[in-house]
């Protein structure tokens, strides 16, 4: 505690009060410009203070994180801001290229970051680089597979995705309502790889989804499917994995996940620096911290959701218990069996959106 300063006369002079009020209001409006703050726009896992506390202390800086729930929301935040409002972005790896093409991102010096320690499988050159320059580095990944309640469901039975169409699972399934991963997973059930999806085979995929819907209890966003699984309303979440259940391991150890035989989708987030940032050195330090083994170990176990750290060297800093929840040992096999999100051309994306909308409203 600092020394208590002697009490000052309390008479408030009107003009002074007005100036103070204006100054406070001004701070609220232009707060982003304060040099001692770093502004991050990211998925909610970056919001956990535990992930950046050491960075704040080491650099005497305050980290502000604004979270978004979908790339659409991110777009609106960026559209409403002016250059310099944001320093750091964390986004689906596949979407880095969109930001880079819009001229929003700063090229990253490859030598400055531990790229060699990162799982080589999760780099996405076609999405993270443009004209030979790198704009994003993968920081975290996980899967869209099956989350389930091991008390009520036998993993051996559902490791084949088509088992989900069995009437015995009627009303026991929740579908995570991200059209992109759901359609691609349904494609895998038909032996169609994600990059093979087209207008011709879409009806077949839609047919599978329809059957799946008939067995499903509900469609929902992450909180909804998570709640349904946790409350016992459903036993399986189609599209779920570690990001849904690993964080609940302390209280609900029976909730776990698997990557099916047919494989699954792999989500990845990448980190980048905004071109308009006015404190690029600090931003660079933040990226370095986030990718460091220490930062990665913390980030993997963020309170909002867990995921695999991109940096393999985080391993020794993560407990065996946590590793088990992340299914650490299986990663080489999982990486091989999974498909990273891909950029779809606008026509196909539109078709997928409409297919999904029709399915959900059917």
């Amino acid at each position: 505690m600092s020394k208590v300063s002697p009490a000052k006369p309390r008479a408030v002079r009107p003009r002074r009060a007005l100036l103070v009020a204006l100054a406070v209001a001004g701070t609220l409006v232009v707060g982003h410009a304060d040099a001692a703050e770093l502004n991050v726009v990211a998925w909610c896992d970056h919001q956990d203070p535990n992930t950046f506390e050491p960075f704040e202390k080491a650099n005497d800086v305050k980290v502000n994180v604004k979270s978004y729930e979908g790339t659409g929301t991110l777009v609106s935040y960026i559209q409403q801001s002016t250059p310099g409002d944001w320093d750091i972005v964390s986004v689906d790896s596949v979407d880095i290229i969109k930001l880079a093409k819009a001229g929003l991102l700063e090229p990253l010096e490859e030598g400055a970051y531990p790229l060699d320690d990162i799982y080589p499988e999760i780099f996405m050159p076609e999405s993270e680089t443009l004209d030979g320059k790198r704009y994003g580095i993968p920081e975290k990944f996980g899967y869209n597979a099956l989350a389930y309640n091991s008390k009520n469901v036998d993993a051996d039975e559902i490791k084949d995705l088509n088992a989900l169409l069995d009437p015995k699972y009627k009303d026991r399934i929740a579908i995570y309502d991200y059209y992109f991963t759901a359609i691609q997973t349904a494609a895998l059930m038909n032996g169609i790889e994600p990059d093979e999806i087209n207008a011709e085979n879409m009806p077949k995929i839609a047919e599978t989804l329809k059957k799946l819907k008939a067995n499903a209890k509900l469609f929902g966003d992450i909180p909804t499917v998570q709640t349904a699984l946790a409350t016992g309303d459903v036993d399986i979440v189609f599209g779920g994995a570690e990001f849904l259940v690993a964080g609940m391991g302390d209280t609900k150890p029976e909730l776990t996940w698997l990557l099916p035989e047919q494989g699954g989708l792999r989500w990845q987030s990448s980190i980048g620096i905004f071109e308009g940032s006015k404190q690029k050195d600090l931003a660079k330090k933040f990226v370095e911290w986030t990718l460091s083994p220490e930062g990665q170990a913390r980030f993997a176990q963020s309170s909002c959701y867990w995921g695999m750290p991109g940096n393999k060297k985080a391993g020794p800093l993560i407990s065996d218990e946590a590793k088990a929840r992340l299914q650490w040992e299986e990663q080489p096999a999982y990486l091989e069996r999974s498909y990273a999100y891909t950029a779809t051309d606008p026509e196909l994306d539109k078709l997928m959106v409409e297919t999904w909308a029709e399915l959900q409203q059917d």
Binding site: G72, T224, E354
Partner: protein, 279 residues
């Protein structure tokens, strides 16, 4: 001159806020709805495409129908429960019980929408209190109510019964008791007293409550999103999908304006009906 000017000046902060936080965003939304989202930017040509899209795609129309259907069902059920409640409260309760009743009716307004919805989700889930209770009585199969349209209706009805009770109660207590005495005195039995005196005179409160219930049900996103299970989307959920998944603000704006038009129409009709009923 001075006298004429000052009141206008006093109004300025309120009008400025109104323009800044209501008129401008609304104008922006209307303007935007006539453009198309192309990646990160808006198209350059004004077009009706978003609206045409809305009225030609079955899933949008289905969502519209789901919303209207939800509004009607919720309003209907809420009215059936709220009217008798308000009636008992205004005619058969002491002043103390009336105060308690009104307090109870106000309670839902003090709790967060989100918290209320999640409470219902937990109560209705397989391990929840409602399901357990229903199960132990063997009364009805409440198991599995969470994440269904029925759950959305329950969540809505819980809230709107209270709202409707208040509006109906406010109409009922204002009916002079001498009207009822006069009707009885002139030979009316209870059914006639109700149908010819009480019901017509409570109509302003009924219509106001019905209008509020319908419009608020139509415009609510949280309750169906948390409780509904997502197998039958309402219009607000479709709007949010456009925003969150697609980042398609123009389309979201267009759908929203359709929703607004319906709400405004319902409000206008209700206002006319109220002024007619209370004339």
């Amino acid at each position: 001159m001075r006298k004429g000017l000052w009141p206008t000046l006093y109004l300025f902060p309120a009008s400025a806020l109104f323009v800044l936080f209501f008129v401008l965003p609304l104008a922006a939304m209307i303007w935007m709805s006539f453009y198309q989202q192309q990646g990160f930017v808006l198209g350059t040509e004004a077009t009706l495409a978003n609206y045409l899209n809305f009225f030609s795609k079955p899933y949008y129309l289905q969502a519209l129908w789901n919303s209207l259907w939800m509004g009607m069902v919720v309003t209907g059920i809420s009215l059936l429960i709220a009217y008798p409640l308000a009636y008992i409260l205004s005619f058969h309760a002491s002043a103390t019980w009336q105060r308690i009743g009104i307090m109870v009716c106000m309670l839902p307004f003090w709790t967060s929408y989100v918290v209320r919805s999640y409470s219902w989700l937990l109560a209705l889930s397989n391990n929840g209190v409602v399901s357990q209770a229903a199960d132990s009585i063997g009364f009805f199969p409440a198991v599995g109510l969470a994440n269904t349209t029925a759950a959305t209706i329950i969540g809505f009805v819980h809230f709107f019964v209270m709202l409707l009770s208040l509006t109906i109660f406010s109409s009922l207590v204002r009916i002079p008791r001498s009207y009822i005495r006069a009707a009885q005195d002139l030979g009316a039995g209870w059914p006639s007293v109700f149908t010819r005196i009480i019901w017509p005179l409570s109509l302003p409160g009924v219509i106001a409550g019905v209008m509020l219930t319908f419009v608020l049900t139509l415009g609510d996103y949280v309750t169906p999103q948390i409780l509904g299970g997502g197998k039958e989307l309402v219009l607000t959920q479709v709007i949010m999908l456009q925003v969150q998944r697609q980042g398609n603000f123009p389309m979201a704006g267009a759908i929203n304006l359709v929703l607004m038009a319906i709400s405004i129409a319902v409000t206008l009709i209700a206002n006319r009906a109220i002024s007619k009923a209370s004339r």
